[in-house]
């Protein structure tokens, strides 16, 4: 590695220069209807496969882009020249679909808005049936809570006209949900920050103790998913260039 990672003074003291940033580390997983396995956020890097996803072609998984994660390397392990302080975690949900806007849910449950907005009923189902846990160094869980305990604190504060989203065929109005509040002050701050050291394994596991999310409604789009994008809140040390 060509970077300066350690300076030793004449008196023997050692300092490790670092570049601390507030840029959050983030990672996404895709939640499907039907039977679900555990999904691990932060388990892949850019170019890797997004857990739970399906490629647009309908076969294989979606390749992660910067929209999915800013993890480097293979994922699951923090790079040797980075460290992480986690003051909180925010989880935003958005609807992913092959059909972009028009009548995505036509003929199914009433009240469904157009992607990427998520129906309120589906948000409640995800909150009801999903458990997330923060695993560090593969020793134990440092947080294990229902998904709703970690609000997105991001999203849109909507104003809606009569019975319409962008789709034109909605006759019942729309009902939109977000994982908790959408403003910055809505996030949950951990009373005890967690640290992920250089080279330590970590992930955020999405578990589904009931085996699936009952009633999750995607209409007839088999490629539809709800993407859960997790943001680490806190500071991150990067290598000095």
């Amino acid at each position: 590695m060509a970077q300066i990672t350690k300076i030793r003074y004449a008196d023997g003291r050692v300092v490790r220069p670092g570049d601390w940033t507030s840029t959050p580390l983030y990672s996404a997983v895709d939640i499907n209807s039907g039977a679900l396995q555990n999904l691990l956020a932060f388990s892949y890097g850019e170019g890797g496969d997004v857990p739970g996803s399906i490629a647009a072609s309908g076969t294989g998984q979606r390749v992660a882009t910067k929209l999915d994660t800013n993890m480097k390397g293979q994922g699951s392990v923090l790079a040797e020249n980075e460290s992480l302080l986690i003051y909180g975690l925010s989880i935003e949900l958005y609807q992913r679909s092959a059909a972009s806007t028009v009548d995505f849910f036509a003929g199914t449950e009433a009240l469904m808005p157009d992607p990427p907005v998520v129906a309120g009923t589906n948000v409640l189902r995800v909150q009801r049936d999903t458990l997330v846990s923060l695993n560090i160094a593969s020793t134990k869980e440092y947080l294990k809570v229902p998904l709703g305990f970690l609000p997105a604190a991001r999203g849109v504060r909507h104003v809606l006209g009569s019975s319409r989203s962008q789709g034109s065929g909605y006759s019942e109005g729309v009902f939109i949900g977000q994982n908790g509040g959408v403003s910055e002050h809505d996030h949950r701050l951990l009373a005890t920050p967690q640290e992920v050291g250089a080279g330590e394994a970590f992930n955020l596991q999405f578990a589904f103790p009931f085996g699936s999310i009952a009633g999750l409604e995607f209409g007839d789009d088999s490629t539809a998913r709800i993407t859960a994008r997790v943001y680490q809140r806190g500071i991150r040390r990067r290598p000095v260039a």
Partner: protein, 232 residues
């Protein structure tokens, strides 16, 4: 237990080593709309039946229902400092108005039903074996809801859906009362170390019996939010 939990120094002094971290305890109760309600919470672990009223089918708890390790108590190597109490709530059945139009499709719980729970429900937390006075005992309306969904609805276009949805306050992690006096659940004095457990239990009930006008069956997940201590 394989973890390091006690260190004896050369001079004979002992230190109990533990890890304190932010981890709420949560527990689920389920009630049928027509049933009298007197439910206990934090009284079962995953693998045991969820606390329910007779009109709700029995089911076995998963880790989504509760993270209790020992029923009605903190485990012997744990303790909890409760700094806030909050909840999330779901409809277990859907609600319609008198004309049959949908107003709350499960798992939505109608705001009207939530208000019914607020006005007639009581939440109590008891700590300590044989202790009859609750450490915390409030009308359900006093508990703010910090876990749930922020939502927006258009007015109905057609005739068959008229949304009625509500949450107990703004959907924000800040929307929970920080207790002026946190509640400690664990050993005291010389017993305040791993190796001791303490009884505690939540209770949700309606002194009048059944909730007047309640239309939906309901699931409530109570959270004791705060600092947990566990072996290092």
């Amino acid at each position: 237990m394989s973890s390091l939990n006690k260190v004896r120094l050369a001079d004979g002094r002992e230190f109990a080593i533990s890890e304190v971290y932010h981890q709420p305890r949560f527990s689920t109760v389920e009630l049928a709309a027509a049933d009298s309600v007197n439910l206990r919470s934090f009284n079962y672990t995953p693998g045991q039946p969820v606390s329910r009223t007779p009109g709700i089918a029995s089911r076995i708890a998963t880790e989504r229902d509760t993270n209790m390790i020992k029923r009605k108590a903190m485990n012997q190597d744990e303790s909890l400092v409760v700094c806030a109490i909050t909840f999330e709530v779901f409809g277990l059945s859907s609600a319609s108005d008198s004309s049959g139009d949908s107003i709350a499709l499960a798992p939505m719980l109608s705001g009207t039903d939530l208000r019914r729970l607020q006005t007639q429900g009581i939440f109590a937390l008891r700590v300590g074996a044989g202790i009859k006075k609750p450490q915390y005992d409030v009308p359900f309306a006093w508990l703010s809801q910090s876990v749930g969904m922020e939502s927006y609805a258009s007015d109905s276009g057609a005739t068959s859906t008229h949304v009625d949805y509500g949450t107990a306050g703004e959907m924000s992690a800040r929307n929970q009362e920080v207790l002026q006096l946190p509640i400690y659940i664990g050993g005291f004095g010389e017993h305040a170390r791993p190796g001791n457990s303490m009884y505690f239990e939540g209770r949700f009930y309606n002194p009048l019996g059944a909730f007047t006008g309640l239309r939906q069956n309901v699931r409530i997940v109570f959270y004791l939010d705060g600092l947990s201590k566990r072996p290092a």
